[in-house]
């Protein structure tokens, strides 16, 4: 049954995942190409000086991509479930309901993390070619909060979609906007380092909203 659920999620999202992978790869490659042009024309010294002397990590153009991927992945995965109350059918399958929901969003989280890990690995590989480990690490540590924002966007969007009443759905979206604003509040490199472990715990807590929405759906709440 587990395999069937994963296969169902795969069918819903495969087109999007492929598209996201292509877009992410193209934009990452474009950013790397820009950096390599700078290295070619002015030398790697410029990258070092910029990273050391200025509040930048050189890959800021990629900062909102994980959020877009997280949001759209949740839409592609959960929007089909809420149209024509397909979720009702899903929940009536002979399988524990809690586990079913968990399998669904765990699939989404793993798919999201796989895409982001690939991007992070490509970026680290190229940055290490030009930069000492301490500077490449600074860039990637700064990007951690962008990936976390993507994960939060995925979980919040999923919980808003699974929420049966529109009023609470809008409320969840309002909270999502506030949290997104917090996660992109400071452009200073490594500004979130100390706060990041707490943010990870918070983002993992968003799962509760998904279960809450499903439970309200089972109770028959609707506008």
């Amino acid at each position: 049954m587990d395999k069937m659920i994963i296969y169902k999620e795969w069918i819903k999202t495969r087109g999007f995942l492929l598209g996201a992978l292509v877009v992410l790869t193209v934009l990452t490659a474009y950013t790397i190409l820009n950096l390599s042009k700078i290295v070619e024309l002015q030398g790697a010294d410029v990258l070092w000086s910029t990273l050391i002397m200025k509040d930048t990590v050189l890959i800021e153009s990629l900062r909102y991509l994980p959020v877009a991927v997280g949001c759209l992945l949740a839409v592609f995965q959960f929007f089909p479930e809420i149209t024509r109350k397909r979720l009702k059918l899903t929940l009536h399958l002979p399988y524990p309901q809690g586990k079913m929901i968990f399998m669904m969003y765990a699939y989404g989280i793993i798919a999201f993390l796989a895409i982001c890990s690939l991007q992070a690995a490509i970026l680290t590989l190229f940055l290490r070619k030009w930069l000492v480990a301490e500077l490449a690490g600074r860039v990637m540590r700064t990007a951690m909060v962008w990936y976390l924002a993507g994960l939060a966007a995925y979980l919040f969007t999923a919980s808003a979609l699974l929420e049966p009443t529109w009023k609470r759905g809008v409320f969840i979206l309002a909270v999502t906007l506030g949290v997104m604003y917090l996660l992109f509040l400071s452009p200073v490199p490594e500004a979130y380092n100390g706060f990041l472990p707490w943010l990870v715990i918070y983002v993992l807590g968003i799962q509760l909203l998904i279960y809450c929405g499903v439970s309200r759906f089972k109770e028959g709440l609707q506008d």
């Binding site: 790697a44 070092w48 301490e134 600074r138 409320f171 490594e190 500004a191 979130y192 909203l209 279960y211």
Partner: protein
């Protein structure tokens, strides 16, 4: 799970409200206050501040603590070029002959802000050549990488460690008694300065050293006079007059002047680098040092020759007399960023009992209303 979800959503919304609403309120009601520019005058031997009253803007007018009004001639060093262009630069001051060039060479300005001090910097520092071949300072080609096991010299273009320079630096530091890892580094790797003094560095035992690159070779020097100060912050100066090599802030926030010969002079200036702003404006005769925080400013006038205090002055900022509505609505305020550092983290401020009481009353009202509604549904 349903209750946990409700609590999670409610808490998230509460935190966002406690953060965003007071922020918006402050944004709408905030009035900026800019204190007048103040300098110690070597002419009247008093602190004088720039008059910003209407009518005084067209010409520079300074007022001393007694209320006497002067023109820009009261600050002959700060406005040296202006006075020189008008042919009004004095030939002598306090019985000492002075020249315009002397005034120019001894004029210095230095600032320090908490945000810059508290910033999380990468342990990588650009390394300049202190004696460049073409006389003018060039952009750095190498960098110092601070690691637990030592300071490595890295070539930036090739992204490779320079084994020879690293070994050279390690042996130089070891002969000076340096104990790794390095704790603090202060330098100014910019070619927009007269000369380069490399970096002032403290080791794990708070001993002070200087590291620089001379003719492509690494050199290190120790400052035994600075040991025992418990240095918590360093500022390298590199001013045209070579009067100091740097400023050292000790564990008690006292500022010390490090002279190029390695001697250390304690001053009366108390400055907490992670809380206070620092402005130093120096001239041939005096240094005006301004230490400011959210509450006010403290000025010190130091003698340029021995850094002894000539005069000092306190100025408190005016208190806001407007009612802050937020303290009647919210039990506290949450801020995630601060002007004192670049970190994002929750900071709970402005705790208010009035706000807490108001919120408890509102909450009790909501609970009672819900209960009444439910009771009427069952009847």
């Amino acid at each position: 799970m349903k209750t946990a979800g409700r609590i999670f959503l409610g808490l998230s919304a509460a935190v966002l409200i406690l953060w965003l609403v007071p922020w918006l309120y402050n944004l709408a009601t905030l009035k900026s206050y800019s204190p007048p520019f103040t300098l110690y005058s070597p002419v009247v031997h008093d602190f004088t501040y720039l008059d910003r009253e209407e009518g005084a803007k067209k010409s520079l007018r300074f007022i001393d603590r007694e209320g006497n009004v002067y023109g820009d001639e009261v600050q002959p060093f700060f406005y040296a070029s202006l006075l020189h262009s008008r042919g009004e630069f004095p030939d002598s001051l306090d019985g000492r002959a002075i020249t315009y060039k002397e005034a120019e060479d001894n004029s210095l300005v230095m600032t320090s802000r908490p945000r810059e001090v508290a910033k999380r910097n990468p342990p990588v520092y650009l390394l300049m050549e202190s004696v460049p071949v073409r006389m003018e300072l060039q952009d750095p080609e190498d960098a110092l990488v601070i690691r637990k096991d030592g300071i490595k010299v890295w070539n930036m273009a090739s992204n490779k460690m320079l084994e020879d320079k690293t070994a050279d630096l390690a042996s130089q530091l070891s002969s000076c008694g340096f104990v790794h890892p390095a704790k603090l580094l202060a330098g100014n790797p910019s070619h927009r300065k007269e000369y380069d003094e490399g970096y002032l560095v403290t080791d794990s035992k708070d001993q002070l050293f200087q590291v620089k690159q001379v003719d492509g070779k690494m050199t290190a020097r120790s400052f035994p006079q600075a040991s025992g100060l418990g240095i918590k912050h360093l500022i390298i100066t590199e001013f045209k007059n070579h009067a100091t090599l740097g400023y050292l802030i000790d564990r008690d926030d006292r500022m010390h002047m490090l002279r190029p010969d390695g001697s250390v002079v304690a001053t009366d200036v108390i400055f907490d680098p992670v809380k206070d702003n620092l402005l130093v404006v120096g001239d041939l005769f005096h240094y005006t040092v301004k230490v400011s925080d959210d509450d006010g400013e403290k000025f010190y006038a130091l003698d340029s020759s021995d850094f002894s205090t000539v005069d000092s002055m306190d100025r408190a900022y005016p208190l806001e007399d407007e009612v802050n509505l937020c303290e009647y609505i919210f039990p506290c305020r949450i801020r995630f960023v601060s002007s004192d550092d670049g970190y994002v983290k929750p900071r709970i401020q402005d705790l208010s009992l009035k706000g807490l009481l108001a919120d408890l009353i509102i909450l009790a009202g909501i609970i009672l209303t819900i209960r009444k509604k439910k009771a009427s549904q069952y009847q």
